[in-house]
């Protein structure tokens, strides 16, 4: 099977001290990979590289066997979508925000209709004409998710997308997100701190620490990993059959 995204022997330096080094990491079609690890482990850095937002200092990034370079980074970015922890909407209407990625890709006809359908899917279509900067945090993140899914990305990259949402709305949103993810069969990489999210969403878990991949496995398989002891708010659910 061809990996959708893959890195080989990459090194990414940030600031004076931090160095991310990943020899091998690949995402297969249909996978939902959870990227976990303590603060400062390099999760966001790795996600930025995978999203073609910054090229690694050393090593290579591949998108569907094609090597990503400065020349084709934009074209590859247009096959992906990214959702950050903050919704990062622009000062215009909710609908325009949701349609923005499509418009940037040159899709003029149908962009708004498609965006509207996705706003409906995330239950925020009644806000379509409202200015996006007036939304609550939870509403805004729903718009951000709709904006990403409207692009039908080959890989959806998410950096702690539910972290700033209050606990009550969070579990509802995660459920909706899960159903969208599986009905669209979207390949995704999800950075998270929350073990419940990992259990609910991930098919594979990668543990990053101090810029290196320390372990990989199924959500259940890594439940006992010492990493959870060091993660804020992590709860270790009972292992089945233990």
């Amino acid at each position: 099977m061809t990996s959708v995204l893959a890195v080989k022997n990459i090194v990414v330096k940030r600031g004076r001290r931090f160095r991310l080094q990943v020899d091998e990491f690949a995402v297969e079609p249909g996978e939902v990979v959870a990227l976990i690890g303590p603060n400062g482990a390099g999760k966001s850095t790795l996600l930025t590289v995978l999203a073609c937002l910054s090229l690694p200092d050393k090593g290579e990034l591949f998108f569907l066997r094609e090597k990503v370079s400065k020349g084709n980074a934009l074209a590859v970015r247009r096959q992906l979508a990214v959702v950050f922890q903050e919704p990062l909407l622009l000062d215009s209407s909710v609908l325009e925000n949701a349609a923005l990625g499509l418009k940037l890709r040159g899709q003029k006809t149908g962009a708004k209709d498609r965006a509207y359908t996705w706003l409906q899917r995330f239950g925020v279509e009644h806000l379509a004409t409202q200015n996006a900067l007036t939304l609550s945090g939870g509403e805004a993140q729903r718009v951000s998710l709709a904006r990403a899914f409207a692009l039908e990305p080959k890989v959806l990259l998410l950096d702690e997308p539910f972290a700033s949402i209050d606990v009550i709305s969070r579990s509802t949103l995660i459920k909706e997100f899960k159903s969208v993810l599986s009905s669209t069969k979207t390949t995704a990489i999800l950075v998270t701190h929350d073990f419940q999210e990992v259990l609910a969403l991930a098919s594979r878990v990668v543990i990053l620490d101090q810029g290196r991949i320390r372990a990989q496995g199924t959500p259940r398989g890594i439940a006992a990993h010492e990493i959870w002891g060091g993660l804020a708010g992590a709860q270790i659910p009972p292992m089945p059959g233990s």
Binding site: R77, D91, G101, L104, R147
Partner: protein
Amino acid sequence: MDFLVQGFIQALRLLLAGDKEVYSIAFLTLKVSGLATLVSLLLGVPMGLYLAVSRFRGREFLVGGVNAGMGLPPTVVGLWVALFFWRRGPLGFLGLMYTPTAMVIAQTIIATPLVAGLTMSAVQQLSPKLRLQILALGASPLQFWWLIIKEVRLGILAAVMAGFGRVIAEVGASMAVGGNVRWYSRVLTTSIVLEVNKGNFSLALALSFVLLLITYSITYLLTVLQQRRRQA
């Protein structure tokens, strides 16, 4: 108090009577300062955008220069521009000394750092993550800059107001490079100074009301534009 009222009445009378000279002075003032503001916008906005987003060696130095330039004394600018355009100066062959063009150039130099500085700070108030998000949405470099400009449009309008307000009010540079030539390079500020020197206080006062009126009207228009309700 009486004095002010008299001045105001005379200003109205001058305007209503259609005094040719006053109108030509007011018109030149608008033309010179408007043009200078426009050019400073074309130069200052890209400078501000670039300084806000880029990281390069010597950036701090340039940012310091822009910030200092925001308070550049017009008289100093006038002196320097005059030195360049003086008949024996390095650009003397252009024959621009004592022309409205020279005034536009001097005022552009005064307004550009202001526009650049205010644009820069407007962009820096955006979350750096927003820039990443715009790129992640698939923006080409051109689309990226266009979206950033749209996002800071209120800040840019503030920069326009500040720049225009500053150059329409300055007198030192216009005097030095324009020469206050009647029917040719005389603007409101320079004619006010002239009338004060001649002892025509009431005419000076009247002209000052005309200047305030123009400045206020333009700024008001821009404010309306800026504060227009955010419609969807």
